[in-house]
């Protein structure tokens, strides 16, 4: 890798790089994203390597382990280019057949291709699969094409073209104007206009200035930022370098959680490559601009995703938020002006600079521009990472991309924005998703988690799950969040155990009101969303728990009642053998009886019964 001495040098290198590459080169791209890696990507890649050797294909076919391909439900995924054939659920055992049929003979291995769940139509090519058709990848564009450890791959895909343009053609003010005009808003959840944030920081007369990339993604079920950091680390760096040039920062930090070791090592490698090639360090591309990036690892506190807490954590202090103002853009890291943006925000920046603010502003809704990456998880058929234009409806995301609800059950709710988001019911399925529309129905964009729930979910239990998560993660600094979450959890537990009352609901409402206004940071302020939204849209479920002492979704164990129907019971004693507390008794080949006093409601008898004689309500 050469050290680029000038912008022309970079352009020439890229030209040669692209000229050298054959667009019809056979490539096998094995997904090594967060979903596929634990399912055995490395083994599949090793099998390909071995098979190539056997068949003497090593020189002809290029093998890459790349970032997330998106459709995690089909892990391990393999993409064959240039035909764009995708295979799913590939195991090392399938590899010889793929090599033999597809790579040698150009045929499709039918049994490994995508099959529509409803129509049973098969689709071998990426462009034919509905999951990919409805998407508009900007941030995820390069993930399934490039080798994340190769700077050449990134350059060949147009990487650092945004930086080149920024340094060559634009003044810092022009860059901020462009970001402002593009309408880009913070992708970490708050949705603050990025251009405005940069402008505030640029205007502060204090040196040095800092840039921080927030990679402390901690929402349960979310892996958008992880996928980007692992799959396209240079995009994050390029965005940060452009941002630093715009606001006049000399130093940048990427705050990554320690639980993402692969993201840390990929970013570290990318930083070293960027330094070697002259994209980082002194006098970047001979422009006279100095900037360097370091990685700072978080120890795993959810609250450290909050910008002021993150800064305290980086300074070596306790990771607790502090009241704003001052905002980090005025007084952030070590008291100096600091721009802090999320991974996805930074990854958008090079594309905006490269393709122009107008191009970006044309995508999305009136107040929310561009695309958003969501991690679509839960009760959908096709879980995975999706990137759609702002304004795409929930129905499109859940049904068209997600392939509908598992087991053809009914949709109940979708929870957006991580643990402190709200649960959106079916009546809002046609809601175009953007920052403001989500807020209007009591939820938040958050960083883009999207958990789909079907009728087997109990909304009281769901609220309890998220409140418990937040209770454990509350830093405990301010009274409303610390004591409030404890009491919300206590009340929900009372309701789940059949000890709830309607006064409890009123008290929760009151408590939520104060937590939402008087907490220090976003954690406490938005922690009320799961409760408020479920109490608003699923009040009947709360009332069923309180008045009838029933959980209709059969989730809240203390409210369940198991009985044995004497008519259907054959006396096979299968349940008796399973019962851990000896609550079932009776003679062999006679109807059994269940002692309600002893029953611990574990449900083992229900599962053991072959004759559906054990009833639950």
């Amino acid at each position: 890798m050469p050290k680029f001495e000038s912008i022309d040098h970079l352009r020439e290198y890229r030209r040669q790089l692209i000229a050298k590459r054959d667009p019809n080169q056979s490539q096998v791209l094995v997904c090594a994203g967060p979903g596929c890696l634990p399912m055995g990507s490395e083994e599949v890649a090793a099998a390909f390597r071995e098979e190539f050797e056997k068949n003497g294909l090593g020189a002809k076919v290029l093998l890459k382990e790349c970032g997330c391909h998106g459709l995690c439900a089909g892990a391990v995924r393999v993409l064959i280019r240039p035909q764009e054939i995708t295979y799913q659920q590939v195991t090392p055992g399938d590899v010889p057949e793929i090599v033999e049929k597809t790579l040698k003979e150009g045929q499709v291995v039918e049994r490994l291709v995508y099959e529509d769940l409803h129509t049973h139509e098969k689709a071998a090519y990426k462009g034919e699969i509905p999951f990919f058709k409805g998407q508009m990848p900007i941030v995820l564009r390069k993930l399934d094409v490039i080798d994340p450890t190769s700077l050449d791959d990134y350059l060949a895909m147009g990487g650092y073209r945004g930086l080149r343009k920024a340094l060559l053609e634009m003044k810092p003010d022009d860059i901020i104007d462009a970001i402002d005009k593009s309408g880009l808003r913070g992708r970490g959840g708050g949705g603050f206009p990025t251009g405005r944030k940069w402008r505030i920081c640029q205007d502060v007369e204090d040196e040095p200035k800092f840039i921080i990339c927030n990679g402390d993604e901690g929402d349960p079920g979310a892996f958008m930022d992880r996928a980007v950091m692992e799959g396209d680390p240079h995009a994050v760096l390029e965005g940060m370098i452009i941002g630093a040039y715009a606001i006049g920062a000399s130093k940048g930090y990427i705050y990554v959680r320690h639980e993402y070791p692969l993201a840390v090592s990929r970013l570290q490698l990318a930083i070293e490559q960027a330094r070697e090639s002259g994209f980082l360090g002194k006098n970047i591309l001979r422009s006279g601009f100095d900037f360097d990036i370091k990685i700072s690892r978080g120890a795993g506190a959810f609250v450290c995703g909050e910008e002021t807490a993150l800064i305290h954590s980086m300074e070596g202090n306790i990771g607790e938020p502090s009241p704003r103002p001052p905002y980090p853009a005025q007084s952030g890291l070590f008291g100096k002006p600091t721009v802090i943006n999320n991974v996805e925000t930074w990854a958008n920046v090079p594309e905006i600079i490269n393709l122009g603010a107008d191009w970006y502003a044309a995508i999305g809704t009136e107040k929310s521009k561009g695309t958003k990456v969501f991690s679509l998880v839960g009760a959908v058929n096709q879980t995975g990472l999706v990137e759609v234009p702002m304004g795409t409806t929930l129905r499109q995301i859940v049904y068209d991309l997600g392939g509908g609800i598992k087991g053809d059950r009914d949709f109940k709710a979708v929870q957006t924005g991580g643990p402190s988001g709200g649960c959106i019911p079916a009546q809002f399925l046609d809601l175009p998703v953007d920052y403001d529309s989500l807020q209007s129905v009591g939820s938040i964009m958050g960083s883009g988690g999207m958990i789909v729930m079907d009728t087997t979910s109990c909304m009281v239990d769901v609220a309890r799950y998220f409140i418990n998560f937040l209770y454990e993660e509350s830093c405990g600094k301010c009274t409303p969040c610390r004591e409030g979450l404890k009491n919300l959890l206590f009340i929900l537990d009372e309701i789940i155990h059949g000890r709830g009352s309607e006064e409890h609901l009123a008290l929760m409402e009151e408590l939520c009101g104060t937590m939402a206004t008087a907490s220090i940071c976003g954690l406490g302020k938005s922690a009320v969303n799961p409760i408020r939204s479920t109490m608003k849209y699923f009040k009947d479920e709360y009332l069923a728990h309180i008045r009838d002492k029933k959980c209709h979704a059969l989730v809240c164990r203390p409210l369940l009642k198991y009985t044995i129907d004497p008519e259907t019971c054959t006396g096979c004693l299968a349940c008796v053998r399973e019962c851990p507390v000896g609550a079932i008794s009776g003679k062999k080949k006679m109807a059994q009886e269940l002692d309600q006093e002893l029953c611990v409601k574990c449900g083992l008898c229900y599962e053991a019964c072959q004759f559906e004689a054990v009833k639950v309500e």
Binding site: V303, P323, F334, K477, T479, R482, L485, N487, G513, I520
Partner: protein, 252 residues
């Protein structure tokens, strides 16, 4: 980095005089002075638990909240760190503010049912009993952090800090062991609004945070002055010989 805006330190950052209104009354105050100081200086009482004029405010207790802005775009902020700015509209006792204070006090009353200060403040806000859950009826700590800040900012040793998260958070020495940094000065116990930091003095020995500190007797009158460690700390920061401090205040 703590943004210092207490009376003591605010002067560095204070700007020109600005006009704002508090509870409908036009006020003049230096820009960037905290709303709490501004309101109190103008006779508007705002209750606080974690505020101290000599310490940087961190906004823990949320009792000093006020409502800023004009209907319908108002916002609840804590007045101890929120700076004055031209044209700011502030309400110190609006319905929203009072509701927040009542709930905060009700939560604290459940946390520390026997703390006198909380009982009195709650009663002053019409809260006589709490609908919330009490875990430990003997608990007295309200986690205001005054002790931690005093130890760090005034004493300058940081012998204690907050440990853990959630309501189980507690003020503690590192690893709950005897802290070698502690000088036994007792400032933490002195500043504590609910008197929860145990502290004894017997036969020339002060015991605090699990450590015994030998007290220095005055070389003139023989009365105990302070722990030897503390006098050594004074000697270190002033550069004077430690013997300078072996004479008590009365005998000097």
């Amino acid at each position: 980095m703590v943004w210092k805006i207490s009376d003591e330190t605010a002067f560095d950052t204070l700007g020109e005089e600005v006009r704002l209104t508090i509870n409908g009354i036009p006020i003049r105050a230096p820009q960037n002075q905290s709303l709490l100081v501004t309101a109190r200086a103008n006779g508007f009482e705002i209750p606080t638990l974690c505020y101290h004029r000599d310490l940087p405010s961190e906004g823990q207790c949320r009792l000093c909240v006020v409502e800023i802005g004009e209907h319908p775009h108002t916002q609840i902020v804590n007045s101890c760190t929120y700076p004055t700015s031209p044209g700011l509209v502030v309400q110190t006792h609006s319905e929203k503010v009072m509701q927040a204070r009542r709930i905060v006090l009700e939560l604290l009353l459940a946390r520390t049912p026997k703390a006198k200060l909380i009982q009195e403040l709650a009663a002053a806000h019409g809260v006589y009993e709490s609908r919330f859950k009490t875990d430990d009826p003997e608990e007295l700590c309200i986690l205001c952090g005054l002790c931690v800040r005093t130890c760090r900012e005034v004493v300058g040793v940081s012998a204690i800090s907050m440990k853990g998260r959630t309501p189980d958070k507690q003020v503690a020495t590192p690893f709950l062991e005897k802290s070698p940094a502690c000088i036994g000065c007792g400032s933490c116990a002195f500043i504590c609004p609910t008197n929860v930091i145990p502290y004894t003095e017997k036969n020339g020995v002060r015991t605090i945070w699990g450590r015994d500190f030998e007290l220095q007797a005055c070389t003139v009158c023989g009365n105990y002055i302070e722990p030897k460690y503390q006098l050594e700390h004074w000697a270190k920061i002033t550069g004077d010989p430690v013997e300078t401090f072996f004479v008590c205040k009365d005998c000097r």
